[in-house]
């Protein structure tokens, strides 16, 4: 049912359920607000959105008043709404004056200055001065997190942070206590927020009460250059904005993308910034007499080229890490195939995902946005809260709408929403696949079932069989339903993985995979290994092999390397990353790589010339054109093309012996999953805090 309204003389027709504020916005009027936020529940406590409604004695809070609640006019004519009348102007001035009574005048030392809603709206809607001469209220500081700096005197009690933590982050740790002038936002207990996406609360704060502690007093918003980019700390591919000043990345903020991250990012994506400035590889190194010594680019490339020429193709190998962009993986694969080497692998965790089965067998087919339509979700061997925080928030959003059943096979974890736990082992999986389990009936009865398979299930010795079981469950659940709906969803943890699988960065024709390369290296059957940012493999297994490490940060790989080629981090190059849904997205260059470090594909191009098999592209555009011929899906930037169900059907046919070993999430410490995060002091502090809080919680429980 629709209803007619006349907003500022303009007649519009809106759905009955819309609020007055949305109706006014549809009519082109802009309504100021503090507490209202599109993605949170309605609170209606700031009173900034007052509008005048014909026939009502007092102005109405438009965010909280539904169009359907308006009483009809006696003669049946549409209600008139005024958003620019003298009454509204006076009401806004009054609200503004009340809000500013207890707000300190410390804009010059406040981090929110320049991007503060209160500042902007005081300018636009406030009156010239204050009539308040009494003492202002002061509120005690709160120590709520190493990531969030509080200055609670500035708080205007909009409760956006409380609603965010409860509704989106899914932890009920922040609240409003007392009332009237004594009202305070606080954690009920003296302890920090334990959420992987708590820092978004500081973004939501319309004033400077909550600001980002790691970037406190470092820069003003107007002096920073904004670069729109993509996050690589997990496989969600959250859209971010990199704010840089000069040669330094100052902060990372989320960017709105309804299909991926809405407007949230995880704390790791945001506060990994200081890792970009620590432990940087800024010059080539060559190991001479057992010690790594600084070298020039020409020396380092000459040493690697000589070694590559002297080694037989089947005695060398390449492993790509979790942060590698598609461009450099393509260049590395191209170089190694020109050299005749087939021992290449991008699955450094040993996941048994096989791109030959089709794209549907290794991507999150449901898509993140599709999760909002799901009604039954089975999670296999994954903890989405730490593996893909923003995606987990999407499941919570769906759960809060009601009618969602979640089942978990694998390690139990606090997922922010309730679920049925079917044991740590794999036994329940076979039962569900054979329809011997009650959850199988739920999946069959569901309209939009989802089977989320984590890397904890894929990266096992029997990973292929576990994946096959999960795919057969998905195929069973999908049978006879909407053909557009694909239930099989692989949740990746590495930003580089899907692009690597798309490019076929896997052993072909009898080549060795990561496990094979490591054991062959240990048995001295391999003489040279190229690591493209691969730090999470067991370096001890490489034995006496000659190791070339190309990457941006000094981590396990750099310590083991014989030659280090310094590359660029994700904020320093334009590279393509494909997220877990198969959505290709491109990062942009915000700053230059430090010191002598170079963009990764240029290093491989220079190396190829040195080896004598020059790669046929001199520019990034030429490389991409060549790459798109191999993997056309990478050309569809910002799209998640449907992959069909053939891949799932092919995967479901794989069967094998499944061991009863428990399934574990591969992310053991959310804050320290990659080389950049491990270089970050903020992430180390958060990790230590989380571990100590968890230990204290366990002690209290005993």
């Amino acid at each position: 049912m629709t209803k007619k309204l006349i907003v500022d003389g303009k007649e519009i027709e809106v759905e009955d359920g819309t609020t007055l504020m949305l109706a006014c916005e549809q009519a082109g009027a802009s309504i100021p607000r503090f507490c209202f936020h599109e993605r949170l529940s309605i609170a209606g406590n700031c009173r900034m959105c007052l509008v005048e409604v014909e026939g009502m004695p007092k102005p109405a809070a438009s965010c909280a008043m539904g169009v359907g609640d308006l009483p009809p006019n006696r003669d049946g004519s549409p209600k008139k709404i005024f958003t620019k009348s003298p009454l509204v102007k006076k009401a806004r001035e009054g609200v503004m004056e009340f809000l500013l009574i207890n707000h300190p005048l410390d804009c010059p030392i406040c981090d929110q200055g320049g991007e503060c809603d209160l500042q902007d709206q005081a300018m636009a809607f406030g009156c010239g001065g204050s009539r308040y001469a009494e003492n202002k209220r002061a509120v005690e500081e709160k120590n709520i997190s190493p990531l969030i700096k509080t200055m609670m005197t500035r708080c205007i009690h909009c409760t956006r942070c409380v609603r965010y933590m409860t509704e989106v982050a899914g932890v009920e740790e922040l609240g409003l206590i007392s009332r009237g002038e004594d009202a305070e936002i606080t954690t009920y207990l003296e302890r920090g927020l334990l959420s992987e996406m708590s820092a978004n609360a500081a973004d939501l704060c319309p004033v400077g009460a909550l600001t980002h502690r790691p970037s406190a007093h470092a820069a003003r918003p107007w002096e920073m250059r904004h670069t729109e980019s993509i996050d690589v700390t997990d496989a969600v591919g959250s859209n971010i904005r990199v704010d840089s000043r000069g040669a330094e990345v100052m902060r990372i903020l989320p960017r709105n993308n309804d299909a991926v991250n809405e407007e949230w990012i995880s704390d790791k994506a945001r506060h990994v910034v200081d890792g970009l400035k620590a432990q940087r590889l800024d010059r080539p190194y060559i190991r001479r007499n057992g010690r790594l010594e600084p070298a020039s680019w020409s020396e380092a490339l000459a040493v690697v080229a000589e070694k590559l020429k002297a080694t037989a193709p089947d005695r060398m190998a390449a492993i790509a890490g979790d942060l590698a962009g598609a461009e450099e993986m393509f260049a590395l694969k191209d170089l190694f195939s020109r050299l005749g080497c087939r021992n290449i692998d991008c699955r450094q965790d040993g996941a048994k995902l096989d791109p030959k089965l089709g794209r549907a067998s290794y991507i999150f087919n449901t898509t993140i946005e599709g999760l909002e339509r799901a009604d039954v979700i089975l999670i296999v061997g994954s903890n989405p809260r730490v593996e893909a925080t923003v995606l987990n928030a999407r499941i919570l959003k769906r759960y809060r709408q009601g009618g969602l059943a979640v089942g978990l096979v694998g390690e139990a974890a606090a997922l922010t929403y309730p679920y049925e736990h079917f044991g740590n082992g794999t036994s329940a999986l076979a039962d569900i696949a054979a329809s011997r389990h009650s959850f199988a009936d739920k999946l069959k009865a569901a309209h939009n079932p989802v089977v989320i398979v984590g890397q904890g299930a894929a990266a096992r010795a029997d990973g292929a069989a576990v994946l096959g079981l999960a795919a057969s469950i998905a195929a069973m659940a999908m049978a006879g339903k909407d053909p557009e709906w694909n239930a099989f969803s692989v949740l990746h943890t590495a930003a580089a993985r899907v692009a690597g699988l798309d490019l076929g960065f896997v052993p072909e024709g009898g080549g060795l995979d990561t496990g094979g390369i490591l054991s062959a290296a240990f048995e001295r059957k391999i003489d040279l290994v190229c690591l493209l940012g691969a730090d999470e493999i067991d370096m001890a297994k490489l034995g006496p092999t000659f190791v070339v490490y190309q990457g941006s940060h000094g981590d396990a790989g750099a310590h083991r390397a014989d030659v280090i080629l310094p590359g660029a981090a994700y904020t320093e190059k334009s590279a393509t990353y494909v997220n877990t849904e198969g959505r290709a997205q491109m990062t942009a260059k915000a700053v230059f790589p430090p010191g002598e470090a170079k963009e990764d594909w240029t290093i491989l191009r220079a190396l190829s010339a040195e080896v004598g098999t020059t790669l046929p592209y001199d520019t990034l555009t030429a490389l991409r054109a060549s790459m798109y011929k191999t993997a056309p899906q990478l050309a569809a930037i910002d799209q998640a093309p449907a992959a069909g169900i053939d891949g799932v059907v092919a995967l479901a046919k794989i069967s094998g012996q499944v061991s009863a070993e428990p399934l574990f999430s591969p992310v053991r410490d959310f804050y320290l999953t990659n080389a950049i995060a491990r270089a970050s002091a903020v992430m180390a502090e958060m990790s230590a805090l989380k571990n100590s809080t968890m230990a204290a919680g366990r002690q209290a429980a005993e």
Partner: protein
């Protein structure tokens, strides 16, 4: 400083005219820890300003900032009691007098100066490079 140098290279130290005036009219009042000597006109005589003239002769280079604060007050007629007649003890937190170091290696360099030695303050674009071992 030899007499020869005082006559022909007078710009580095005391001039022979000062030496002559002090010899004729002055009496020694005291000497500071750097070896600079302080003189005053003999009793009964006054200078052009109607008060006894006061002189300092420097041990080495003529450099006005070599006069320590206690003698500076007497020399500039801020007070009449020379430090030798006072038993003033400097407080423990008072730093010893340092002459003006401009033009020397110890010259003051403000924070961030590229001529300053040691640690420079943090600047935009700084990063910590990885070093092996």
């Amino acid at each position: 400083m030899g007499l020869f140098k005082e006559i022909f290279c007078w710009w580095g130290g005391n001039t022979w005219g000062t030496r002559l005036a002090i010899w004729r009219q002055g009496r020694l009042v005291g000497e500071d820890e750097l070896g600079n000597k302080y003189y005053e006109q003999k009793p009964g005589r006054t200078g052009p300003l109607g008060r006894p003239r006061r002189w300092v002769t420097y041990k080495n280079l003529s450099e006005a900032s070599l006069v320590s604060p206690d003698w500076h007050g007497w020399l500039h007629y801020t007070h009449d009691t020379p430090p030798t007649k006072e038993d003033y003890r400097p407080r423990p937190w008072q730093k010893p007098h340092r002459p003006n170091m401009t033009g020397t290696r110890e010259a003051w360099r403000p924070q961030g100066s590229i001529l300053a030695a040691g640690q420079r303050p943090k600047a935009t674009g700084d990063y910590k490079p990885w070093t092996p071992g």
